[in-house]
Amino acid sequence: MNDTNETLRRTPLFDEHVKLGGRIVPFAGFEMPVQYKGITEEHLAVRTRAGMFDVSHMGELLLTGEHAGAVVDYLITSDASKLGDGQAMYTCGCNEQGTILDDLLVYRHTADKWMVVCNASNHAKMSEHFRKAALNHCEFRDETFDTALVALQGPKAYDILAKVGGDGPELAKLPSFNLRPAVLAGAKTTVARTGYTGEDGCEIFIENKDAVKVWSAIMEAGQAFGISPAGLGCRDTLRLEARLSLYGNDIDETTNPLEAGLAWIVKLDKASDFLGKAALIKIKEQGLKRKIAGFEMVGRGIARHGYPLLDMQGKPVGVCTSGSPSPTLNKNIGLGYLPTEMTKIGTQFKVDCRGKAVDAVVVKVPFYKRAS
């Protein structure tokens, strides 16, 4: 443990996590809080009130210049030309084989200023990927280690921001998947109405030097609304209920976006070429042998990442990619790859929970959807 600790980074909010009683674990090269009071409590705080996450470990890649949009567009499966100024979208980047390098959020500040947010676990890979593609076409800057990122999520998020002051009261007007500059606690930030929890909320990009100031102001304003600091533990349970993919679990370089349930971000008909397009067209033509499905445990057992999925005769036919108790639904839920013919809702199968075959059934996803 001590050997690896020396190479781990801390976000500018590390001391805040320690003060709040966060349990710190190594994650993707950072020392991050996995929980403060408890995963279930923090999970329910986000669903019913608000939770604040430090996600400063995520990567921020900035591409600027006349051709920045074209460079981004070539590296993603969705159509970047559909974005206007101040708009963001969820997408992924594939390699030439059509499998997933990373899932991404792409932000268009202006026609010549684009930001890509990638997973911390893929940061080095994606930074290199975008840097190379930008060569001779546009400017590239990796701002990851200069930028703090705070996610405020939950039904009270915008009430809290209004109380923070500055531009906070204006932010409730920001449409979903839009972004804008905003002064909060005297600091210049960028606020995007995005998140990874299935709740309303926002993600706030802050210069490192201002991170504690903004975090503290939100935490203080949030007290009256029952805000809780929220760790990576509940981030995972929240995203799973909302059926949002986790790189390294549900998607990776062995999976393509079509089988991963991400066909909605693959625009095979976009006018421009993109990396992986030809392979994905072929994959689509050949038909999918397997697909990711959401399931609920029927028997007593919790599916976990890597557990084999069995047909009713007990033959291994797939693998669980994510599994957990669902604090909102009080059920044990999961995602996993199954043969396409077994992904119909209501299909029964079994999960091999360390040698015990436990009944499960394919259900509709998302497992949880907030009332709109």
Binding site: G233, T237, R304
Partner: protein, 132 residues
């Protein structure tokens, strides 16, 4: 950390089970340190039945929290005499009071095994060391 309670009326394993003599039986549970590490406990799987033999140091089931799964190891060898069925529906009883909530009872076959377990002071020192 400091407010974890390790009662002195029982012994402990290095894997954070506790074992308490109750007449001829030994009740087995998990320590407050284990519970703190696990977090919200959501499932207890006892893989043995009443009458089964268990061997010291071997897994007799698993305990699962939201994030993780951990084996439970028999602190002593012997025959299973009771299983706490209440945990099937209410695993959270362990979070509520882990020092009262036992998982199984064992009729020990070798009393020396119990004596070899850690006493409160030795266990507290072990916890301190494993939490660096």
């Amino acid at each position: 950390m400091s407010n974890l309670e390790f009662p002195s009326d029982r012994r402990y394993t290095k894997d954070h089970e506790w074992a308490r003599k109750d007449g001829q039986e030994i009740l087995v549970g998990v320590s407050a340190f284990a519970v703190e590490q696990l977090g919200d406990i959501t499932l207890v799987n006892v893989d043995v039945k009443v009458g089964d033999s268990v061997e010291v140091g071997k897994s007799f089931g698993t305990i699962e929290s939201v994030k993780t799964l951990s084996d439970m190891f028999a602190p002593v060898s012997g025959k299973i005499t009771k299983i706490n069925e209440a945990l099937n529906d209410k695993p959270e009883l362990i979070n509520e009071d882990c020092n009262k909530t036992w998982m199984v009872a064992i009729a020990p076959s070798n009393p020396a095994e119990f004596e070899a377990l850690l006493d409160q002071a030795a266990y507290a020192a072990h916890v301190k060391a494993s939490a660096h």
